[in-house]
């Protein structure tokens, strides 16, 4: 993972709650064995009409938001299946940051492993953000993970909290597996004293 400290990008508002991973990447596009190339199918049923042409009414297809890399969304974003493809699709499409009142548990974990930053703001702050966006469509936001603040160019600033473990990992670009490997001694020792009935019994 590349370190993530500060980031500036323009926003796109998608103010809907419970956007689940089936919407983010429909199951029919999961049949690849690679980790790349999912962006083209992001929110496919929302982005495209039956005839395969872009659905012009959907916000991501609006010219104003074509360059957006920060997604504003409703609560419980990423609920549903554990498919990490949802994160790859969002990332591959170009999103670097998602801001929402809340995210689903597994989705959060998956994002933290792929460098997609999730920021939770409360409902009042979200409403303010949506209002500011309405006044200045696709306005750009500056995300400062080090100081845990979001700012726009008009001086509006809001601070956010984030799990220290995730912040630490993003700032340093750590790879989880390497971090775990540092505890190799503990794993070996644990394996030695594990009860026999925790293993599959083989005759």
């Amino acid at each position: 993972m590349k370190p993530f400290r500060k980031y500036t990008g323009s926003v796109v508002p998608l103010n809907k709650s419970n956007i689940d991973t089936d919407i983010i990447i429909p199951t029919e596009f999961l049949k690849r064995t690679e980790r790349t190339g999912y962006g083209q199918h992001l929110m496919y049923y929302w982005r495209f009409n039956e005839d395969g042409k872009p659905n012009e009414d959907f916000v991501l297809n609006n010219e104003t938001y074509k360059q957006a890399t920060i997604l504003l969304s409703g609560e419980n974003f990423g609920c549903g299946s554990s498919r990490e493809n949802a994160v790859w699709a969002l990332h591959d499409y170009g999103f670097q940051v998602i801001i929402s009142p809340s995210f689903a548990d597994i989705f959060k974990g998956n994002c933290s492993k792929n460098g997609l930053l999730l920021i939770e703001l409360d409902h009042t702050q979200m409403e303010e953000l949506y209002a500011r966006e309405r006044d200045n469509p696709a306005f750009s936001l500056h995300v400062d993970l080090e100081n845990q603040i979001i700012q726009d160019k008009f001086g509006w600033t809001v601070s956010f909290s984030i799990a220290p473990s995730i912040r630490h990992k993003f700032l340093n670009g750590h790879n989880d597996i390497d971090l775990t490997m540092a505890a190799e001694g503990n794993i070996l020792q644990y394996e030695k004293q594990r009860a026999f009935y925790m293993d599959p019994f083989v005759n």
């Binding site: 809907k16 709650s17 419970n18 689940d20 089936d22 919407i23 429909p26 199951t27 029919e28 999961l30 049949k31 064995t33 690679e34 980790r35 049923y45 039956e50 409703g74 609560e75 419980n76 609920c79 549903g80 299946s81 554990s82 498919r83 990490e84 493809n85 809340s102 689903a104 548990d105 597994i106 974990g109 998956n110 492993k113 792929n114 799990a163 220290p164 473990s165 630490h168 990992k169 989880d176 597996i177 971090l179 775990t180 490997m181 540092a182 505890a183 503990n186 794993i187 020792q189 644990y190 394996e191 009860a195 026999f196 009935y197 925790m198 293993d199 599959p200 019994f201 083989v202 005759n203």
Partner: protein, 478 residues
């Protein structure tokens, strides 16, 4: 010592390091399948890592497999590649794989318990969110993403934030025609799809105590849909009787020793949960979802709620958009909703008791002409057993299709996908937009309710069913 909950007992036994950002958990059993593992193996190989404990890793091809004649060529080339990739990866890393033609093949969450791989006190992970199913045995079992699969393959551990604990105490005798599926649907309706976020749920109470393992698996399976990390039930005699003599459990004296240890896995009197919810199910009616998340649910003898009556604005908007997608109008009686398809299957409801209850309803009746109805057993074991009991004949004579095991219509990613616009009565666990195919409308129900809907052509209250004999209810549980 301070009293501990069941979850805490399992948790402390598995934390092997606390010096990192998150506690590091040892994983006892890692199940993998065709859809989420390929990328994990790619990442593993790209980073030049090995599988640390192939002996604790088991694979089954289930998600994207055809459930029709297995001798026919895969119609879907990509699905074929996924299954072949799974098999090649398992062979390369020496992992036991239950391939499509293996007699033990089936849905991962069904074969884990069936083979005795799922046992009390274990930590179990799988790249599928319904891994919580295994919690029915007193294991701490949860779904993980592909990067985490790589992590477990490489280290047999996983950094995990410690969840909070919730006790859902279920009391009351299950009414006739009501199943554990109805119970869990009503719980999700009550606590909401966010009600369990951050928690591991322990199911307690007299109702749970009296449940069979198949029933416990159904409630643990679906607690995920309330946002919970996992569900658990303390192991007891029912659990041990189910597991005894299964393929991978200890035998002889070793069995006794294992059981003696498993008996210690319960929540101590006075153990404190972060939250407790009590539910009485004595008057519960069969449940049916009307919306696009499992919390949008009501009783079969009620009508679709009017969004105007919902005070919470977020919930109201969600209800309005769900009704648009579902092509339903407020106040319509649930039992007037006509359906095009029925799916009896998935890791929620494709076990023996589910099939017996459905067969009992189907016996002597005929599926409506315009309804396509599939019965997809959860594993080959279940398929063979059902055939020994003659359930296949009951289904086939009634006009149901009798299939080979797999996830089938649950994830909507294999040939068993429904047509756009189809309305499905489904025993699976998710009614999300597009889950069972583009524009497909899903109503989640119990197996008995699904069978009844296939026969009448509309959602039907199974409590008023005209049983014509066949499987008796008390025979359904063994």
């Amino acid at each position: 010592m301070a009293p501990k909950t069941l979850f805490e007992k399992v948790w402390v036994k598995h934390v092997i390091d606390t010096s990192l950002d998150l506690p590091l958990l040892f994983i006892d059993l890692h199940l993998i399948h065709d859809v989420t593992s390929p990328q994990a193996f790619t990442l593993l190989k790209d980073q030049g890592r090995k599988v640390r404990r192939p002996d604790l890793t088991f694979a089954s091809a289930d998600h994207n497999v055809p459930t029709t004649d297995r001798n026919l060529e895969f119609k879907d080339l990509l699905a074929k590649i996924q299954v072949e990739t799974l098999i090649n990866n398992c062979n390369e890393f020496d992992i036991t794989v239950y391939d499509l033609d293996h007699p033990d093949n089936g849905i991962v969450h069904i074969i884990g318990p069936e083979l005795g791989l799922t046992t009390p006190g274990k930590t179990i992970v799988c790249g599928d969110s319904h891994t919580s199913t295994h919690g029915a045995f007193g294991a701490f079992a949860f779904g993980i993403g592909s990067s985490e699969i790589t992590h477990v393959l490489a280290t047999q551990t996983l950094p995990q934030a410690k969840p909070k604990t919730m006790n859902i105490q279920i009391e009351g005798q299950m009414p006739e025609g009501v199943s554990s599926k109805d119970i869990i649907l009503s719980i999700i309706g009550k606590i909401g799809t966010l009600g369990g976020v951050g928690y591991v749920v322990e199911f307690t109470g007299s109702t749970v105590k009296n449940m069979s393992m198949d029933e416990r698996m159904t409630i643990c399976n679906m607690v995920l849909e309330a946002g919970a990390r996992s569900g658990m039930v303390a192991p007891d005699e029912t659990t041990f009787a189910y597991l005894k003599n299964r393929k991978y459990v200890p035998k002889g004296e070793k069995w006794d020793e294992a059981v003696a240890n498993w008996r210690k896995l319960y929540s101590d009197p006075g153990a404190v949960y972060d939250k407790t919810v009590t539910i009485n199910i004595a008057d519960l009616a069969p449940q049916v979802t009307w919306g696009t998340n499992p919390g949008q649910v009501t009783s079969i003898d009620k009508s679709i709620p009017s969004p105007n009556s919902i005070t919470d604005s977020t919930k109201r908007t969600a209800a309005e958009s769900a009704l648009t997608y579902m092509d339903l109008i407020p106040l319509l009686n649930m039992n007037e909703i006509e359906i095009d398809r029925v799916f009896i299957g998935s890791c929620t409801n494709a076990r023996m008791e589910d099939l017996r209850l459905a067969a009992k309803v189907a016996y002597g009746h005929k599926v409506q002409n315009n309804v396509t109805a599939l019965v997809v057993p959860g594993s080959y074991h279940i398929k063979r057993r059902a055939e020994q009991e003659g359930l296949d004949k009951i289904f086939i004579e009634s006009g149901f299709e009798w299939r080979n095991p797999g996830c089938s219509m649950c994830p909507g990613m294999n040939p068993d996908i429904a047509k756009p616009g189809d309305r499905v009565a489904s025993t699976s666990n998710r009614n999300f937009e597009g889950r069972q195919g583009k524009d497909v409308r899903t109503h989640l129900v119990s197996p008995a309710m699904a069978a009844a809907a296939a026969i009448t052509g509309h959602l039907t209250d199974v409590r008023e069913w005209n049983y014509k004999g066949g499987v008796k209810r008390n025979e359904a549980f063994s």
